[in-house]
Amino acid sequence: MNITHDMKMADVIHLNYSLLPVITRFNIHLGFGDKSVGEVCEDFGVNLDFFIEITNSFIDDDYIPQKDLNSFPVKLIVDYLHKTHTYYLEEKLPELLSMISGLSEIFDNPEPILLIKNFFSEYQQELQSHIEREENIVHPYVLEIEDSFNQNSKDSKLVEKIKTYSINDFAKEHDNVEEKLYDLKNIIIKYLPPCKDKALCNRFLTELFRLEKDLNAHAELEDKVLIPKVAKMEELLLEKYTKI
């Protein structure tokens, strides 16, 4: 069932609790009583259409967008991506790290968990630098493109920039930071020696699966919405300013 504006927000959570972190990302707090999705979004100053598209595509891989995702401003998309990054760095990674230190207490032999720890910290660095690059280079760039697009004034510096490093160059280098996550899951599922606290192992694994799903949805938004949208803008900008 799709999420619609007149549905109760409480029912949205009942429908799919995996949306909880997504809702938090929109700065929406729990305790919405019987308010509808539309009302809650208004209360918290959230773009309703964007909220509906994001949540639906998060829970349903085959969701058919009701609104053209291209119609949303770059600023709005970037803002959501940024909040998602913060969620990974400030919530998810620390949570997983603390689980790993919990794990280290339950193995007789410290070696395997030490390996996992090192592996995870490599992953953490990878994810961090991926995000830093997007926040420091890509996001400012796409916002600049949108600004210039809206302002209609010729900016020859920007035209040069587009020619030297366009969004498609970024797209080519954009990896999905999931290889290590995939490996980590398999190492735990297939190769880790038996551990005493099965519940903790399972919780750790569950969180890895959740993070992976979230990262995939995130990369999808970057690859399928942000990048094509910016590429189109670049194209129009170049067309406009090379003609004059």
């Binding site: 592996f119 999905n176 290889e179 290590k180 490996d183 190492i187 297939k190 190769y191």
Partner: protein, 199 residues
């Protein structure tokens, strides 16, 4: 038996879903990625390392660019086309392993896919029956874990770089581990190398 993985690239939603649903009903086969264009095909191939690619040739750009190339080079034996081209023009499609015609019945598609993935009918299919590593693979894994490059390993073992790469692909398929750090952990956990030996 390991599951055989498929990537299905087809623009038409109806056709794609149809193909996917048939593949997923074949025992031991599974679609790992659906695509409606070839934009990220190379990275998807790298990250999923599929056994087969089912593709509508119309999606391949006319210009011979690197993508086109990649598909041909790495997978020509494993690429299945979805096509509505009439039989007399099928020569064009000869570079594909098998052709699913839009007019095929469910049974025909099923049979075509079965014959492609069935090892008895297709002895050339490079496919993993056991997930045990061979001695050679263990040796290579040990060197990988120590931080050696493919080229270095090839020199030490008197193999071609290409052979080393093939072995590495098989190791990754068997273990379900893609990264060097991940393979290193496996090697240590299985006493192939000691922690101190890691570069």
């Amino acid at each position: 038996m390991e599951r055989l993985s498929f990537i299905v690239a087809e623009k038409s939603y109806l056709i794609r879903k149809g193909v996917v649903s048939i593949i997923n009903r074949i025992e031991g086969a599974m679609v790992v990625k659906e695509m409606d264009n070839l934009g990220s095909i190379n990275s998807e191939i790298l990250s999923h390392n599929p056994d087969f690619l089912v593709i509508n040739p119309n999606l391949i750009p006319k210009t011979e660019d690197h993508r086109n190339f990649h598909i041909k080079m790495e997978l020509s034996e494993k690429v299945i086309a979805i096509s509505s081209v009439s039989p007399f023009r099928k020569g064009m499609l000869s570079s594909f392993r098998e052709i699913i015609d839009l007019n095929d019945s469910k049974e025909e598609i099923y049979q075509k896919l079965k014959s492609v993935i069935n090892p008895e009918l297709t002895p050339s299919a490079n496919y993993v029956v056991s997930s045990e590593l061979s001695e050679r693979e263990k040796t290579i894994l040990t060197h990988v874990a120590k931080g050696l490059t493919n080229k270095e390993i090839a020199e030490i073992l008197f193999l071609s770089a290409h052979t080393v790469i093939t072995h590495r692909k098989n190791i990754t398929n068997k273990l379900g581990i893609k990264t060097i750090s991940g393979l290193t952990i496996y090697a240590i956990l299985n006493n192939l190398i000691k922690m101190e030996e890691v570069r």
